[in-house]
């Protein structure tokens, strides 16, 4: 290969490789190719905290250092809730939402996305303390901050293609609300 040919080919290759870097840096990608809309159920709820207390036996107290002895010990937890969602009267979600954390004493987190066709839909959402769990003693001083035992939303929403509608819990209003993009 002659020197001039080498130089030309080398230049062409360098420019092509550089252009390839530029092209691969902007490849069109459809992250969500379909044209549906989404109803996003997402909130954080404190849930109702209950405590189960009992008196320690003398033997148990004996095992605890003197300066840490308390006559009563309490175990607290957040009650699980049941989430139920229907779109146009068809069940879309029906699940138990358990509190986060290894000891189940962290808040409840809800995050579900329901795909729906664009247009008007009736949306019914309920979020209530799970009936399967026996109620213990509520902690009164924390009850005011807690999510109410039952929340419900029944509304008709109209969604355009690719719209995302958020259903969330408003801590100040203490109810489920609908939020969407500001036009």
């Amino acid at each position: 290969m002659k020197r001039a040919t080498r130089r030309i080919l080398g230049g062409v290759l360098a420019v092509t490789a550089t252009a390839a870097v530029g092209a691969l840096s902007r490849v069109p990608y459809a992250a969500e190719p379909s044209t549906y809309a989404v109803v996003r159920l997402a909130w954080r709820a404190r849930g109702e905290r209950v405590e189960e207390c009992r008196r320690l036996t003398p033997a148990e107290l004996e095992r605890i250092p003197i300066h840490m002895r308390q006559a009563e010990t309490c175990t607290g937890r957040i009650l699980p809730y049941h989430l139920d969602a229907r779109v146009d009267a068809s069940p879309a979600v029906g699940e138990e939402v358990v509190p986060a954390g290894a000891r189940r004493d962290r808040p409840l987190y809800v995050f579900r996305e329901l795909t729906v066709t664009p247009g008007a839909h009736r949306l019914q959402v309920t979020f209530r303390i799970s009936g399967t769990v026996a109620r213990a003693t509520p902690v009164h001083e924390q009850e005011l901050d807690a999510t109410p035992p039952a929340l419900a939303l029944d509304t008709v929403v109209t969604l355009a293609s690719r719209d995302v509608l958020l259903v969330t819990y408003d801590g100040e209003l203490r109810r489920l609300v609908v939020r969407r993009a500001v036009p």
Partner: protein, 523 residues
């Protein structure tokens, strides 16, 4: 698993040999970018660092997208510096992948090189994470998808007290603290990268961290032109109340999105762990069996003069000078090889004038014995050239007995050849010796060709003696796919030898006998 790795290794090596040869022809070995892939990553990282500092002045965590958009509107500086920042980051990924492929294909990842391999993988991973934080900082369509997908993957791990995906549901505007954290990670990670580069090269002496200037500035110029002519794109602003549509995505940092989005996070992590384990364990898959594993060098303390040359020449800092157990009158120390650091390249064998160090069977003395046997068997004559061919590069000719009518003598590394061996061949009547080495920046053992040249022509310790006619010795630098370079060097050497032989014949003419005395002239 080892068989799969071996098959992959062989295939990659063949492809790389062809690519090396092609690029060699176009750019020449000194500027072949494939040979400088590791140094190019460092150079591009520096470009990213410098351009990043400029961009930092204009970035606002309170209005990320608006500030980047404002930067892109700066026609004179902001736009092309942002483009250069982005394209240099992209090119860094390409160079890092090429570098990793080369190390894998050449089997340079096991033994003492394991640390470099593992830290190299970590560097690549951190580079990708760094890019991830950079794109989230922009907070355009791509940033939104990367952030949401990252949150989806991380939320299955029990490491966060609250699911981080909640930040992206649209319940409330993303706080500035989120972008500040991203910015912090984007700035802190490169500092970590710098430290990791130090660990990455900690086991090699004199690491070549930068490519040749022409290559470096040529690359910077090309990327700058690209940034000016084709500015980095900026997609639509992220909108958590709209499904992300089609937008320009950077393949180098977002290539994983189409792979992970359709599958559950648990499966993604399983693939990630399995793939990561396969890559981290490459040194295990690719190392030779114990029987075929080359033994590390050792020192014959009776012969060691304490000159320190092997200590200076070792490319892996595997040799230390230590006090002798029985001190010598001159108080000089003795060389000691650390077998955990020695890759058995044999370069110390070529550096030791008294031939007291080297891998078993490849010390200077062993080389002389083997060459004597070679001379006895092949009987090279004055018309012959012997090629001492590196069996890893050198045009791939080391496997044959002859090449272009010259005798081939394979060596493990041109840098390990002891100059006394060359002298022996010439004294035995060989017309000339051609040492066929790898290109200097692609030596399997690092620095072999450099030390060889200095020993032959620049009187580096263990040098070729003055009494040897240097015009009968030549070096050819050729990658495994360039036998033509060895052939060209051979032609050149033969031409020199012919001229030398002609001159020698002339010198042998008995002038007194052939010339008639001029009458009356007094002798």
């Amino acid at each position: 698993m080892a068989q799969i790795a071996a098959a992959l290794q062989n295939g990659t090596r063949r492809a790389l040999t062809r690519a090396d040869a092609f690029m060699d022809r176009l750019y020449g070995a000194p500027y072949n970018p494939l040979y400088h892939s590791g140094a190019l990553v460092v150079a591009l990282f520096l470009v990213v660092l410098v351009t990043g500092i400029y961009l930092l002045f204009f970035y606002h965590v309170g209005a990320p997208y608006a500030s980047v958009a404002q930067l892109s509107d700066q026609v004179w500086l902001g736009r092309w510096i942002r483009g250069l920042h982005r394209y240099a980051s992209d090119a860094a990924v390409v160079a890092a992948l090429v570098h990793a492929l080369r190390i894998f294909a050449h089997g340079r990842s096991w033994g003492p090189r394991t640390l470099a391999w593992v830290t190299g993988l970590l560097l690549l991973f951190v580079l990708l994470v760094c890019g991830w934080t950079g794109y989230v900082m922009v907070w355009d369509l791509q940033g939104q998808v990367l952030a949401q997908e990252g949150a989806r993957l991380f939320d299955v791990l029990p490491i966060f007290s609250e699911p981080i995906g909640r930040a992206f549901v649209g319940e409330r505007p993303l706080p500035g603290a989120f972008f500040f954290l991203n910015l912090f990670a984007h700035v802190a990670l490169p500092i970590g990268l710098g430290l990791m580069v130090w660990v990455h090269v900690s086991r090699v002496a004199r690491p070549g961290l930068l490519p040749p200037k022409r290559l470096l500035w040529g690359l910077v110029a090309l990327l700058t032109v690209l940034a000016v002519v084709w500015p980095a794109p900026l997609a639509l602003q992220a909108d958590l109340f709209r499904l992300p549509g089609t937008g320009p995505f950077d393949v180098f940092y977002s290539f994983w999105l189409p792979l992970t989005r359709p599958i559950s996070p648990g499966v993604v992590w399983a693939w990630f762990v399995a793939g990561g384990a396969f890559l981290v364990l490459v040194p295990l898959w690719t190392r030779p069996t114990p029987a075929r594993r080359p033994a590390p060098s050792s020192v014959d303390e009776r012969l060691c003069t304490g000159c320190e040359q092997c200590y200076l020449d070792c490319p892996y800092e595997a040799i230390a000078m230590v006090e002798r157990e029985e001190p010598r009158p001159d108080g000089k120390p003795v060389a000691r090889v650390n077998p955990d650091l020695c890759v058995s390249c044999g370069i110390c064998a070529g550096s030791c004038a008294p031939m007291g160090v080297g891998p078993p069977g490849r010390t200077g003395r062993d080389q002389l014995a083997a060459m004597k046997a070679f001379v006895a068997a092949r009987r090279p004559g004055p018309g012959d050239v012997v090629i001492l061919a590196c069996n890893r590069g050198a045009g791939g000719i080391a496997t044959g007995e002859r090449f272009a009518n010259a005798l081939v003598y394979p060596v493990s590394c041109a840098g390990s050849v002891h100059t006394s061996g060359i002298e022996l061949l010439l004294r035995a009547g060989t017309g000339g010796v051609l040492v066929a080495a790898c290109p200097p920046r692609d030596c399997w053992n690092r620095e072999g060709p450099k030390w060889l040249e200095q020993r032959l022509y620049h009187e580096r310790e263990a040098e070729l003696r003055d009494r040897v006619e240097r015009r009968r010795v030549a070096i050819a630098y050729a990658g495994a796919g360039r036998p033509d370079l060895v052939r060209d060097a051979l032609v050149e050497l033969r031409r020199t030898l012919s001229a030398l032989d002609a001159a020698t014949r002339e010198a042998e003419i008995d002038v007194d006998r052939l010339c008639e005395p001029v009458p009356g002239e007094v002798a």
